[in-house]
């Protein structure tokens, strides 16, 4: 087993041993998955909408280069500055340079998974810019020195008591500020308002980017996305290059599914559609006639960081993802272990494809093993991504790179050789059945030797039937005759 795999197994064990985490996961994933199911059921024609959204995403990815160029042209014409970052390091360098050029010392941030992916906060802090996360969950994550455990609701893993303690210890909250959840919410509002009013730069992600108007679409429920992109004089939007759709009509189709799939809402509370900085008036001077507020500078940073490389390969379909988190909530593995066990920025089924896809098989391919391939993710996905196929593909690539455990690499060709020879296969099945029944006690196998012990270490295996499937099938056919 590789170090990465061993560490993954240790995180899983730790998560499974955490009772409070298990309760929190059951509550949250149950609520979110239930909300999604209800919202989709009440939707006019959910299946047609999913087909349409998939078609839109597929068509957009199929001409991604043209759409990015169109976006750049349109956004530039509306006063945006568009930057291109090949890697995480390039992206953080670009944002840091923008901050320095604008003499920014305080930046407020709206929740952005891409910013987590490129580890932007640390880079900005190193260059002397204080960064404040403003999404309530992300704010808690930040003051705890923690990581988000879900792409939509980042602090699934924390109780109200945890949050109260953190606010008291790390954010100078008074006892009455943490009396209950509304009090804590009000405390966060007050604390973060002060930061918003003083920040020189706002940093956001983008849920969708619209090529025909160079528009960044940002959805939040709290309103922190709006404050982040309205109060500071500079707005920087980090946009994963695959976020793009051609037109407003396509955006409407994606939005009709995004919040329904994420939280069961028909639409998030705030959908901001940003096309450039505030506009000057027709009259003389900037003070007259133009827009009274909004940023004076808007930067869009296209982040590749491994995405374009995926396009050429069999994992490309993951680029259709709209990051709703529905696949996390329905995944029987995520439901039990939560986001931290996956160890990366993107957890769950989508993360098990995205992490090895973007950041490499060596460190991340093991994630794809943590799936029963039950297909719940594919059923929940608003753009019908065939996640089980992609998870299998990650496993296949890992095996081809000899990243699978050695015993498995030896055993699978042996199995394949046996399975291709019917007579040999039947004898092997009979032998295995016999051996299985010998080690079984009370109808269950609780112990197996060698590498097979990995199976029985955490689960019992039913004893093989006295007659194999093939034997039973033959007997039935004969009886029917």
């Amino acid at each position: 087993m590789s170090d990465a795999a061993r560490a993954f197994h240790q995180r899983i064990d730790a998560a499974l041993a955490d009772r409070a985490l298990g309760d929190a996961l059951a509550l949250t994933t149950g609520r979110l998955a239930g909300g999604r199911a209800a919202a989709m059921a009440a939707f006019a024609d959910a299946e047609a909408a999913r087909d349409e959204a998939r078609r839109i995403r597929a068509a957009a990815i199929a001409r991604l280069d043209q759409l990015l160029e169109r976006f750049e042209r349109e956004a530039t014409a509306r006063g945006c500055r568009v930057h291109w970052a090949e890697t995480a390091a390039d992206a953080t360098r670009i944002v840091t340079a923008i901050a320095q050029e604008a003499r920014v010392t305080l930046a407020v941030k709206s929740k952005s998974m891409v910013s987590e992916e490129i580890e932007l906060n640390a880079a900005l802090e190193r260059s002397g810019v204080r960064v404040v996360e403003t999404d309530l969950g992300e704010f808690v994550v930040q003051i705890a020195g923690d990581r988000p455990s879900h792409i939509i609701t980042p602090i699934i893993h924390r109780s109200r008591h945890d949050v109260a303690r953190l606010f008291r210890e790390k954010a100078n909250a008074a006892p009455e500020d943490v009396a209950d959840i509304p009090a804590m919410t009000a405390f966060a509002r007050r604390t973060l308002r002060a930061e918003f009013l003083q920040a020189g730069m706002g940093i956001s992600g983008a849920n969708v980017a619209v090529a025909e108007t160079g528009t960044v679409c940002l959805v939040t429920n709290e309103g922190n996305g709006r404050l982040t992109t309205t109060l500071p004089r500079v707005h920087v939007a980090l946009v994963g290059i695959e976020r793009i759709v051609p037109s407003a009509a396509d955006l409407a189709a994606v939005l009709s599914l995004l919040a329904r799939s994420a939280t069961g809402q028909a639409l998030s509370v705030y959908t901001s559609l940003i096309s450039g900085p505030r506009r000057a008036g027709a009259g003389p001077g900037p003070a007259k006639g133009g827009e009274p507020d909004g940023p004076d500078d808007v930067h869009v940073v296209f982040v590749d960081n491994g995405r374009s490389r995926l396009l050429g390969g069999p994992l490309a379909e993951i680029l259709y993802c709209i990051r709703c988190g529905a696949c996390l909530n329905v995944c029987p593995v995520y439901q039990k272990v939560g986001g931290h066990a996956y160890g990366g920025v993107y957890p769950g089924p989508v993360g098990s494809v995205v992490m090895p896809g973007l950041l490499g098989l060596e460190a991340w391919s093991e994630l794809a093993q943590a799936s029963s391939l039950c297909g719940a993710c594919r059923e929940a996905c608003p753009v019908r991504i065939d996640l089980p196929r992609l998870l299998l593909e990650v496993r296949r690539q890992a095996a081809a790179k000899r990243l699978a455990p050695r015993w498995l690499r030896v055993a699978m060709p042996v199995y394949a050789a046996v399975a291709r020879r019917p007579r040999l296969y039947r004898s092997a099945v009979a032998a295995a059945g016999l051996l299985g029944r010998m080690v079984a006690k009370g109808g269950w196998i609780r112990w197996l030797p060698g590498p097979l012990g990995a199976w029985t270490a955490s689960r019992d295996f039913p004893a093989p039937a006295t007659r194999s499937f093939l034997q039973q099938h033959r007997l039935r056919k004969e009886a029917a005759r």
Partner: protein, 226 residues
């Protein structure tokens, strides 16, 4: 970063040539939803039900009744001064005058470009308790009001105060966002900031417990005018 731009586009193009993408097999789904949704009354009812479920408040009023209605909302929250869009942008003639006559003071503002002056003005605006805007449209399906930024149409008006009142004509109700975009394909170009607001600010980040007014307004009133 022209080099990066070229390399990213080149990487995309070479990927697309080799792409093993599943085809978009469902091209051309018939657009059955166009024109659906029917009467204004039906949309008013739907919009009201959806927004109420989101903890927003919906009122119906003729234009002359609006000043008294908004003044009542202000009084209920103990508000004396307010932010507002210009009268021409509110779609309700006489509203600002009516509010002034009821003792409410409108604070007009324009963010300076100077960083420090900007911060000082933002801090001065922060305690104001009410913002009044005019909706470009409203969406029955999801309870959202569409606000378009522009001269005389500040974005902070619907964002900083704890109470937001949006005035929208009933005739501007549309069944879905898709319907609105179909009718106005250039909607995103109407202003540098187009925002859909569906009810009060909310969060459920802590233990999935719903809590309102975390960053945006805690109270949202939509006044549908005849």
């Amino acid at each position: 970063m022209t080099g990066a731009r070229g390399r990213i586009l080149e990487s995309i193009r070479s990927g697309l040539v080799r792409a093993a993408l599943p085809s978009a097999e469902h091209a051309g789904v018939p657009d059955a939803k166009a024109g659906r949704g029917g009467s204004i009354e039906a949309m008013v009812e739907r919009f009201g039900a959806v927004l109420t479920a989101l903890s927003g408040r919906v009122h119906r009023a003729a234009s002359p009744e609006v000043p008294a209605l908004v003044a009542d909302i202000a009084a209920a929250h103990g508000v004396r001064s307010f932010l507002a869009w210009d009268e021409t942008e509110l779609g309700c003639p006489g509203l600002l005058e009516g509010l002034a006559a009821r003792g409410l003071a409108r604070v007009d503002y324009r963010m300076p470009t100077d960083p420090d002056a900007r911060i000082r003005l933002a801090q001065a605006l922060e305690p104001i308790g009410l913002g009044v805007t005019g909706g470009h449209a409203a969406i029955a399906e999801n309870g959202a009001v569409v606000l378009v930024s522009g001269p005389g149409r500040g974005r902070l008006v619907s964002l900083l105060p704890a109470v937001h009142v949006a005035i929208v004509s009933e005739r501007r109700l549309r069944p879905t966002l898709a319907d609105l975009v179909r009718e106005e394909p250039r909607l995103l170009d109407a202003g540098s900031n187009v925002v859909l607001v569906a009810g009060p600010s909310r969060t459920a980040d802590i233990e999935m417990a719903l809590s309102h007014g975390v960053h945006g307004p805690k109270h949202v009133h939509v006044v549908l005018t005849a």
